[in-house]
């Protein structure tokens, strides 16, 4: 009798769990193409005396592959086109595109290639990879939080900090912080 009640409770728990756990990385296995429509790559840089400026890249592409058996073997590749940077101030945009910062004419792409994905929770992972900008490559880490999964669409909120000086973009330091805060929403469509 007790066994049947326990059994029922266990079944109920199993039934109840997926409702919450429906959005887990394990269930999301598959290959996705990042859809620009539902995605954004924003950044902000602080400045001395408070405040700072925000910007976003309008053009980028990429793919997310979530491994069926082992989330740790998942991959993320993103290519950003720095020419598409926008801050709301055309003079700042021109400055960022110039050889003072991105040198977009000679370095049209910023690339991120993941090297490891480590689960840190039911819906979160630490993504480590190699970031290449202006011909320089360094390991960087980003935190990815699964924020939506339905009918072939997956959505992540990705945050991370990058030191721009490493990529030959230290202009303006220390007036403008060396730390660039990234805040991205990446929506993938199953491909």
């Amino acid at each position: 009798m007790y066994a049947r009640i326990l059994g029922f409770a266990a079944v109920a728990t199993c039934l109840a769990m997926p409702v919450f756990a429906a959005v887990t990385l394990g269930d999301a296995a598959g290959s996705y193409t990042i859809s620009p429509a539902g995605s954004s790559i924003r950044f902000s840089i602080g400045k001395l005396g408070g405040g700072g400026f925000d910007g976003a890249f309008a053009r980028f592409k990429g793919s997310i592959r979530i491994d069926n058996s082992d989330v740790g073997r998942s991959r993320v590749n993103i290519t950003i086109f720095p020419e598409s940077v926008g801050t709301g101030q055309s003079r700042i945009d021109a400055f960022l595109r110039s050889d003072a910062v991105f040198d977009a004419a000679n370095n049209p792409e910023i690339q991120f290639r993941s090297t490891s994905v480590k689960r840190t929770g039911e819906t979160s992972a630490l993504v480590t990879g190699r970031l290449t900008a202006r011909g320089k490559t360094f390991p960087e880490k980003f935190t990815a939080e699964l924020s939506g999964l339905k009918a072939g669409t997956i959505k992540f909120h990705v945050t991370g900090k990058v030191l721009r000086s490493r990529y030959g973009m230290d202009v303006g330091t220390p007036i403008y912080s060396n730390v660039v805060h990234f805040d991205m929403t990446l929506t993938g469509k199953r491909s």
């Binding site: 400045k47 005396g49 101030q89 021109a94 400055f95 003072a100 202009v171 303006g172 220390p174 007036i175």
Partner: protein, 192 residues
């Protein structure tokens, strides 16, 4: 003997002399820097030169305020007796204009960066954040102050040229001590 720091009615003291040449050197440097920074092709170099120009501008403003306070609180040496009435008036006028422009030029630069929509902080020599003047930011206001700063710079170059020409005239033509008394404290000129 006192260290000849202060002025008296016959000579300039070291404080006035050092301030004069220090400000002169920085002002001429600022003219050159101002022209170069607007013409250099590298945006990075331009940014860095502009920040340097701002740093020296704030240094100048501080020195000029000190200098004006020193000038008002000190005796001014008299001009040689040989100097005529018209030249006395012209000298007084040009000196007044020089002081006004020394103050107005850095202030107009400060106004320019204060109203710019770019909101680039002023951090003289990366030492501290200089607050902006309480002016309303807009592209129109920025263009206005940029033009003002330019016109004042041109006017300043004109005044400095006039001032230098007058000093050289005194030294080489009139052969009086008007120039040398600004080189070191000396009251043994033929004026008195």
């Amino acid at each position: 003997m006192p260290a000849l720091i202060t002025n008296d009615t016959t000579r300039y003291g070291w404080a006035a002399i050092v301030l004069h040449w220090l400000i002169a050197a920085i002002f001429i440097g600022q003219f050159v820097l101002g022209f170069v920074m607007m013409r250099v092709s590298s945006q990075r170099t331009a940014f860095e030169l502009i920040q340097l120009h701002k740093s020296f501008g704030f240094l100048l403003l501080g020195l000029v305020i000190l200098r004006i306070a020193w000038r008002l609180g000190n005796a001014a040496p008299a001009l040689p007796r040989s100097v005529g009435r018209f030249e006395r008036r012209a000298a007084a006028l040009v000196h007044f204009a020089l002081y006004a422009f020394q103050l107005a030029l850095p202030l107009s630069g400060w106004a320019l960066v204060s109203v710019s929509m770019l909101e680039i902080p002023s951090v003289p020599f990366n030492l501290f954040v200089m607050p902006d003047l309480p002016l309303v930011e807009s592209d129109t206001a920025e263009s206005f102050w940029i033009s003002t700063h330019w016109y004042l710079a041109y006017a300043g170059i004109g005044l400095v040229a006039l001032h230098i020409a007058a000093a050289l005239r005194h030294h080489f033509w009139l052969k009086d001590a008007v120039l040398t008394r600004m080189v070191r404290p000396s009251s043994n000129h033929e004026a008195e």
